[in-house]
């Protein structure tokens, strides 16, 4: 299991390849990648991601271990960046390896839902008009209830 919190970019291809290799009994690998998007007005300069250094790794490990308890997983990968990111840059990725496709997909969705609302990261959008903290959505909290 690899959990990483870092400011520097990661290589999606290299991470996915490394994660997918070395198993003989994992029939399904799912990866998800989150990307900074300029959705609202087309004037996003950058996104600044703040985190709680003392707590972040522990929170991510807890979420990953919860996924391993619930689904049949051979391995889990979580990488989450912080600091300044430009539109189009990758923010984070998760990967799950399982003997079965359903477990790999469901566990990846579970990881994403929990990363959104239970991992101590906060996003701020910097536009030409100023800076705004991204507000959590009710639907993000609701998404946890399905698990």
């Amino acid at each position: 299991m690899k959990i990483a919190v870092q400011s520097e970019p990661f290589d999606l291809g290299a991470e996915a390849s490394a994660f997918a290799s070395g198993h003989r009994d994992m029939g399904a690998i799912v990866t998800f990648t989150g990307v900074v998007r300029d959705l609202a007005r087309g004037d996003l300069d950058r996104m600044v991601i703040e985190h709680y250094p003392g707590m972040t790794l522990k929170a991510l490990e807890k979420i990953a271990n919860e996924a391993r308890d619930r689904w049949s997983l051979g391995d889990v990968l979580v990488i989450h960046r912080y600091g300044d990111l430009a539109p189009g840059e990758m923010i984070m990725m998760v990967a799950t390896a399982s003997p079965h496709r359903k477990d790999a997909f469901e566990a990846a969705e579970f990881l994403m839902d929990y990363l959104k609302s239970r991992a101590p990261f906060w996003k701020k959008e910097i536009t030409s008009d100023g800076a705004d903290w991204v507000a959590a959505k009710d639907e993000d909290e609701d998404a946890l209830n399905r698990w």
């Binding site: 709680y52 003392g54 707590m55 959104k116 609302s117 239970r118 990261f121 906060w122 903290w133």
Partner: protein, 81 residues
Amino acid sequence: MDVLYFAWVRERIGVPKEVVETQAKTVTDLVEELRGREERYAAAFADLSALRVAVDQELTEFDASLEGAREVAFFPPMTGG
């Protein structure tokens, strides 16, 4: 104990971290003490439903005990992923 603030809570209070001498028994008691200090605290803690709290780096509720706690952190709902 160490009190930490993140995101707009940090910006509103003006510091990321401070040492607070307190006899507060619960998080709510600590919030009441901080609110009484200065307007910037009252403003930051005006609506607790907009805030989350962690005690010793574990998410918890505002009625949580502070017995033995070394670190309390206040922040808005998280926006990871």
